[in-house]
């Protein structure tokens, strides 16, 4: 086995601390880029930025689960729904502030994730996919089952967050929403980034690569897998909560199976198991539908064709991307970067 921790046998204590500082620096850098982007972009682009940020929060967790701990989930759309409904109920009915409501969304989805994750540790491959699929299909139906609490098919609506007064009266709402989502995404980036480089991340990879070997090393395989699921559920809950803040809604129609499938697609397309891949995946989720729509409508076709063409183009992009970049956008970039780095010097 390639021990995941064996990459850096010469590292000693203290390195961890500098790693923490370095990743904090990177998160600050990402934050500055995000801030500048939100300042320069228009209101609609700020909204897209916000969408990208909440998708990133979900994808970062999912990429840990699937890419790092080796479990497949087709149910993360439903975990987003848990976060979104929690937030809408707390903010709309109980008049909580957004920050504690987001924490509650994380907590509630982590609890739900624990239950699903505990079941998940007993299942492998397609069985696990099937179980989480059932979860994705079944959970939104709860909203219809208890319409007085969850608003039925129509879902819940909350008031938009108000930007604090010190930002000025004319501060655009969309930018404020982008900031809220952006802060959530940065917290996830920092937490997941560090966790993956810690012993927990190594345990995830060890379990993914060989369960027997991992348990011989003293790891409790079931516990590690459940932890990975809970972690990713918490991220999905945060993403769902942020979605509810940005769009001010939680409705069954927003969390259909298609969402869970496109989340999985996005992490694979972005590059499985890396935070960078999650960023690319979020960009794909936000930008690709608009591009395919614009492209489809730039040809003058009959409405029946042009309505369905975006879906076909989306599929085409996925197929081509998987053929050309089997390891996703991030894998392709890494290969290109590696090629550039190698080319000037003579190897071996």
């Amino acid at each position: 086995m390639n021990a995941p921790g064996g990459r850096a046998p010469n590292r000693v204590r203290g390195v961890g601390q500098s790693r923490l500082v370095r990743s904090l620096g990177l998160v600050v850098l990402a934050g500055v880029v995000f801030f500048l982007a939100s300042e320069t972009l228009g209101a609609y682009d700020d909204l897209q930025l916000a969408s990208g940020a909440y998708y990133f929060a979900v994808l970062a967790g999912l990429t840990v689960l699937t890419g790092t701990s080796g479990q497949i989930s087709l149910g993360h759309g439903a975990l987003m729904a848990v976060g979104a409904y929690t937030l809408c109920l707390l903010v709309g009915n109980e008049h909580w502030a957004i920050a504690p409501a987001l924490l509650a969304a994380v907590a509630v989805s982590a609890v739900v994730g624990t239950a699903v994750g505990a079941a998940a540790t007993r299942l492998r491959g397609p069985y696990l996919a099937g179980a989480t699929l059932a979860f994705a299909v079944g959970l939104p139906a709860l909203a219809d089952k208890y319409p007085s609490t969850f608003g039925g098919e129509n879902g819940l609506v909350i008031n938009p967050p108000t930007p604090p007064s010190w930002l000025g009266a004319s501060f655009p709402l969309e930018r404020w929403e982008a900031w809220i989502a952006g802060i959530g995404a940065l917290v996830v980036m920092f937490a997941i980034g560090n966790l993956l480089k810690s012993g927990v991340g190594r345990a995830f990879r060890a379990v993914r690569d060989d369960e027997i070997a991992a348990s011989l090393c003293g790891l409790h395989v079931g516990r590690v897998q459940t932890l990975a699921f809970v972690l990713s559920a918490a991220c999905a809950g945060l993403g769902g909560g942020l979605l509810a803040v940005v769009l001010q809604l939680a409705a069954p129609g927003a969390f259909e199976l298609q969402l869970s499938l496109s989340l999985l697609t996005a992490i694979v397309l972005g590059g499985l198991g890396t935070l960078m891949g999650a960023i690319w995946g979020a960009a794909v989720l936000v930008l690709l539908p608009n591009w395919t729509n614009d492209l489809a409508h730039s040809f003058s076709l009959s409405t029946q064709v042009s309505d369905n063409l975006p879906l076909a183009l989306y599929g085409l992009v996925l197929i081509v991307a998987m053929l050309v970049w089997p390891s996703g956008v991030q894998g392709a970039l890494r290969r290109i970067a590696g090629g550039l780095r190698r080319s000037p010097s003579v190897q071996g």
């Binding site: 982007a37 609609y44 039925g152 969309e174 129609g253």
Partner: protein
Amino acid sequence: MNQVSIRPRAVGVACALIVALVVAGCGSSSSSSSAPGVTATSITFGTHQPLTGPAAPGYSEIAPASQAFFDYLNAQGGIYGRKIHLVIKNDEYNPTQTVSVVHQMVLQENVFGIFEGLGTPTHTKVVGFLNSEKVPDMFVASGCACWDNGASQPYTFGWQPNYTIEGKILGQYLKQHFAGKKVGVFYQDDDFGTGGLAGIKYELPASQIVSTQPYQPGVTNVAPQISAIKAAGAEVLVDFTVPIYTALGQLTSFTLGYKPQLVVSNVGIDPTTVGGLLKTFSKGKAGTELIEGAITDGYLPSSSETSNSWIALFQKIHNQYDPSAPFDGNVEYGMANAYTLAQALQLAGKDLTREKLVDVVNEKGAQLSGPGLVPFRYSKSEHGGYSGVEMGQVRNGKIVLFGGPLVTEPTAGSPITPYTTAQPAPPASGVSVP
């Protein structure tokens, strides 16, 4: 082994790249005109429609039909020399998408207003935004009572009869013609279905309603609901369903050997759409015969009534500007709604602003007339749309209206009264000013 690691340096690079992509993806669009979306030669509206997905069959024809009517007007010079454009965005009937595309149209594409946004679970998520941005939200394509609130949502107007009004008139008909018969109601579990059910309950004695069964859109097995209604012994089945569920319900009834008198909301009965769905689902074994004899209602003349001068006009426009779609109730809906908007724009005058359009519908909206059989409920406080329906039945695969239009209010106990003013003839060109 698949080496998994995070390249922290790359995080920053990617962030910068994404920003670049987003910036590249958006063109700056600013208009110097005082009202967004209006120039000397054009007015641009936007709409969100289910062009794909479960709500698409039938409904995807509506907005292109509206555009066809605008094309017809534009060919005659438009309204005050301005051509009307409609930006049609697909929201797949998904509220997340609705919010996204409506923000895009309002904030980035600077549309003058939103027109004919389709669906209750979708459009309810943008009403707050449109009203806070003071964007006219004209003639929502849904009969939810939730649009009818001029005080808290001054910029939002409904158009089609509210489902409770429709339910009341259907309920009264059942009370009169199916007295003592057991009634089962199969309804969509949202404001559409519950609104219609409420209207039925206002009129029909509670003892007559033996079973009410909701369905969730997206769940295609309706056998539990239909079986329960059958088991309760219902002799009349009332459907507050969208076309796809009317078809699924009828196929299930057929399989179960259940043959009640069918009653369907006008939203879910268009024979072309439902017949087509029945054909597709049954692989050609069934068609419109499964909805033959169904009782329904309408607030526009039936699209198969070719002797009606409005239908003749719409048919002509359809043949010229939108020939690829079938000429059915959905196409008629889109054109009739477009006519109402054009009439309101005509009334609002040459110096168009968002406020003026809203004010003119508040003040003179009740006088707007066109293909509708009944008057509109528009005033400063009422933003409800058509005030009633006429009863109808599917005969030989076509809807035939009978008995004359009836109007009422969406409240319990308010009387249902006949409306006798005849429909005006369509103008020779353009739109007429009431």
